[in-house]
């Protein structure tokens, strides 16, 4: 710590003077803050090979949500384990201190870590790297809604970049329920006032869901609608991811 | 503060030499090799014993005897004020050590070399005397697991407040800051295996207080024996013997 030594004083980040407005979606004809349609995703940008030191890496940018994922391995397991003829997947998600609107501590995000692991483990062919570990480390540079789906998609791309055998790419999309409307790929503002959320991670080519979480109260038809919306978006997202991989491959050939 | 009324009654209505009601139950955790619940008044603990079994960590192996391990943890809701405690704070490490050493002294560890015995104690409610309750629960759980022991260790605490020796302190009496003697004995062998005291106490009074605690331990030993016998009878009955 520079400046004056001793204890760091308690700080706060100054908030805007304007009073809280009512959540906009309660109005009849509200528009999304960034002007998208309800069923329109943010433009997705992917790039592989963001980190040279890693075996494989990818950078993803969805609006202001920015994520880097590095994959290391397959390499020797850190923990001394019993003999296992399958490999081990080790995940970690952390946030930068400036990722969130309120300055955080930059700690590991246990929940995301667990969810990322569950979303990926079904897609990776762990038999292809016996006795070793593949480490998937994600860093959220900026968080602005739908973080977890972006991390999952980006991680599967990084795994592909590292040449880890997978059944399929994992694409992930979430929808938020705002009163009566379903809104796909919500941004932070929308997530903060959502009534419910549904997140799907799936392998589009195999048409299999690897991870699914739902919060809030949903009726069955609504769940159907939400799932269909996500699955369609996942399929589109996977196409973009595939394209990114193809480009990277053709670049390296040249 | 007055802990003993002029009529000779304590805050919870007990007499100075009276113990709180004790209750024990064997087999609370069906998956463990041995387990028991022990209650002393409002203090309630569960103990589970796993083993003797293969060592988890080969480097800890002792070739001449069994390795005894103990972990003490408190549930978040066990105390009056809800507190979020991480496992392995100093107090629980110390109590774990005390329980481990006390139990190790009575287990015939040399009969089970190269193996390990785990004792886990979980405090569900704490109202003074958790140490004693944990040791008593662990004894029962070890017996339930069928671990050979030279005797049943029992433990009880006693204190000295308002110039009166008091048996089995509850939380209010315990936190009064007076002397608190926790004693563990092997009742049949008549040996002391654990003696802890905080605060200060004249040496001649210590003898009185200790004697009181010994009486308490013996009473608990009697009860534990009954519980075990009853349990064995039940098992034999179920076997149809």
């Amino acid at each position: 710590m520079a400046g004056k030594g001793g204890t760091t004083p308690a700080t706060y980040s100054p908030s805007p003077a304007t009073a809280k407005k009512k959540p906009p979606h309660l109005k009849e004809d509200w528009l999304r803050p960034d002007g998208r349609g309800f069923h329109q995703c943010r433009p997705a940008f992917f790039r592989t090979g963001a980190v040279n030191a890693a075996s494989g890496s990818a950078y993803a940018e969805f609006g202001n949500t920015k994520v880097i994922v590095s994959v290391f391995g397959p390499r020797e397991s850190k923990k001394a384990m019993l003999y296992n003829d399958t490999g081990r997947l080790n995940c970690n998600v952390s946030l930068t201190t400036f990722a969130t609107p309120v300055r955080g501590q930059g700690l590991d995000h246990k929940e995301y870590t667990a969810m990322l692991h569950k979303a990926l483990e079904g897609a990776i062919i762990v038999e292809s790297f016996p006795k070793t570990t593949v480490d998937v480390f994600a860093l959220v540079l900026e968080s602005s809604g739908s973080d977890l789906p972006v991390i999952i998609s980006c991680a599967s791309l990084a795994l592909a970049d590292a040449g880890i055998m997978m059944y399929d790419l994992v694409a992930s999309v979430s929808v938020s329920c705002l009163s009566k409307n379903l809104v796909i790929d919500p941004i932070l503002e929308e997530e903060n006032c959502q009534d419910g959320s549904l997140m799907i991670a799936c392998m589009p080519s195999r048409y299999e869901i690897t991870q699914l979480t739902v919060t809030g109260e949903w009726s069955t038809p609504k769940i159907n609608e939400g799932m269909q919306l996500c699955l369609d978006a996942c399929a589109k997202l996977a196409k973009i991811m595939r394209l990114c991989l193809k480009e990277a491959a053709s670049d390296s050939q040249e | 503060m007055e802990f003993v009324s002029p009529e000779g009654l304590r805050l919870d209505g007990r007499r100075p030499m009276e113990m709180r009601q004790i209750r024990a139950e064997i087999g609370a955790v069906s998956k463990a090799d041995g387990s028991a619940v022990f209650e002393m008044g409002n203090t309630k603990v569960i103990a589970a014993v796993y083993g003797p079994r293969e060592l988890q960590n080969r480097s800890q192996q002792i070739s001449s005897q069994a390795l005894v391990r103990c972990e003490y943890s408190m549930a978040n809701f066990s105390t009056g004020d809800r507190m979020r405690k991480s496992k392995g704070d100093r107090r629980s490490t110390e109590i774990s050590l005390v329980i481990r050493q006390t139990m190790e002294a009575c287990i015939l560890t040399h009969l089970m070399p190269r193996s390990q015995i785990d004792i886990y104690v979980q405090v569900l409610q704490a109202d003074g005397g958790t140490r004693s309750a944990c040791i008593n629960a662990a004894t029962l759980a070890l017996a339930d697991a069928g671990i050979p022991m030279c005797d049943l260790v029992t433990s009880c605490s006693a204190g000295y407040l308002n110039t009166t020796p008091l048996l089995d302190l509850n939380y209010v009496e315990d936190s009064a800051g007076g002397p608190d003697v926790t004693l563990g004995i092997l009742p049949k062998l008549d040996k002391v295996t654990l003696l802890q005291m905080d605060s200060k106490l004249p040496i001649d009074i210590l003898e009185n207080v200790m004697q009181l605690a010994i009486e308490g331990c013996k009473a608990i030993a009697k009860y534990i024996r009954e519980v075990l016998l009853e349990n064995t009878k039940q098992l034999e009955y179920r076997r149809g013997v």
Partner: protein, 305 residues
């Protein structure tokens, strides 16, 4: 600078291809000798001359939500710095000074040797070096961070994240920290009735007078730039990669400011001793590098505008 050799061509491409595997094996088995063979030819394995730093780029404003930010790449070493301004009550000893908290992070993504849960050995060291260098150079006047004397002052949290670690971490970290400081935009704020500082929004800007009308940008008295060199035998290698750093262990880091003052001459041990001649050479190379970095920083600032 007689020692600065002219840039040589890439290693002879017509070399026998059948020995390619052997070269790779040689590199892994005898890394030091492999490097020395290159050094004798005044070239480094990545094709650079000894005195040439890697390509450097600065991108300002990489983090939209921060008050100031910069992304710096030196070769593949990548650093991301963001500054977030928060309000604090200044200490009694210095009622009209703000504070800067500098931290350097190495998240597990940056290098295979960093594992989650335990910080890399280098990160507290670089962190300390950064804050020492920036605070001792008096580059920033902490008084500029004061808002209301004794009541409120800025606390600038400057966090440097290493996204890709490939040597010369301190150089890249310092460059990104300095770039972020030059990019810093302090929001206009006012004090409300409760004594809390609030951000002025554009619509109601007239209602209250901002307490920091003039102080919207930090004046950097001098700008710091650094250069890390490796001393090996009589060679001086500029801007090492992580492979070079791990093989040759005598590192010298020189920090100079734009006025030519020496801010830091940092040589933590190492088997090669630094003699006056070598010191003077290193300082001279650093001077050149400072000019180079200065123009890169100016260009990137122009791009933003």
């Amino acid at each position: 600078m007689e020692k600065i050799k002219k840039r040589m061509g890439l290693p002879n491409a017509s070399e026998d291809l059948s020995s390619e595997m052997e070269v790779d094996a040689f590199r892994r088995l005898f890394p030091l000798r492999y490097f020395e063979r290159h050094l004798a030819e005044s070239i480094r394995p990545d094709g650079r001359p000894l005195m040439k730093a890697r390509e450097t780029s600065i991108f300002l404003g990489a983090v939209a939500s921060a008050n100031g930010s910069a992304l710096v790449k030196i070769g593949s070493t990548t650093m991301l710095t963001a500054i977030k301004m928060e309000v604090m009550t200044p200490s009694l000893e210095s009622p009209d000074e703000g504070c800067i908290a500098i931290d350097f992070h190495m998240p597990p993504i940056c290098s295979p040797i960093v594992r989650p849960g335990r910080p890399a050995e280098a990160s507290p060291v670089v962190s300390k070096q950064l804050s020492d260098t920036i605070s001792s150079s008096k580059m920033i006047d902490l008084k500029e961070l004061s808002l209301v004397s004794g009541k409120a002052a800025w606390m600038a949290y400057l966090d440097v994240y290493c996204l890709d670690a490939d040597g010369a971490l301190f150089d890249a970290a310092l460059l990104s920290a300095v770039a972020a400081l030059s990019h810093l935009q302090i929001p206009a704020v006012a004090m409300n009735d409760d004594g809390r500082i609030i951000i002025m929004s554009d619509e109601e800007g007239q209602k209250q007078e901002p307490v920091n009308k003039e102080k919207r940008k930090l004046t950097l008295k001098s700008i710091l730039f650094s250069l890390t060199c490796i001393l090996h035998k009589n060679y001086i290698l500029v801007d090492p990669t992580s492979e070079e750093e791990s093989i040759m262990e005598t590192h010298v880091t020189i920090v100079l400011d734009t006025s030519g003052q020496l801010i830091s001459f940092y040589k933590p041990g190492g088997s090669v001793l630094a003699y006056t001649a070598a010191i003077q050479d290193c300082v001279a190379i650093s001077r050149q590098r400072v000019q180079e970095l200065k123009s890169i920083l100016e260009n990137s600032a122009m791009e933003v505008e």
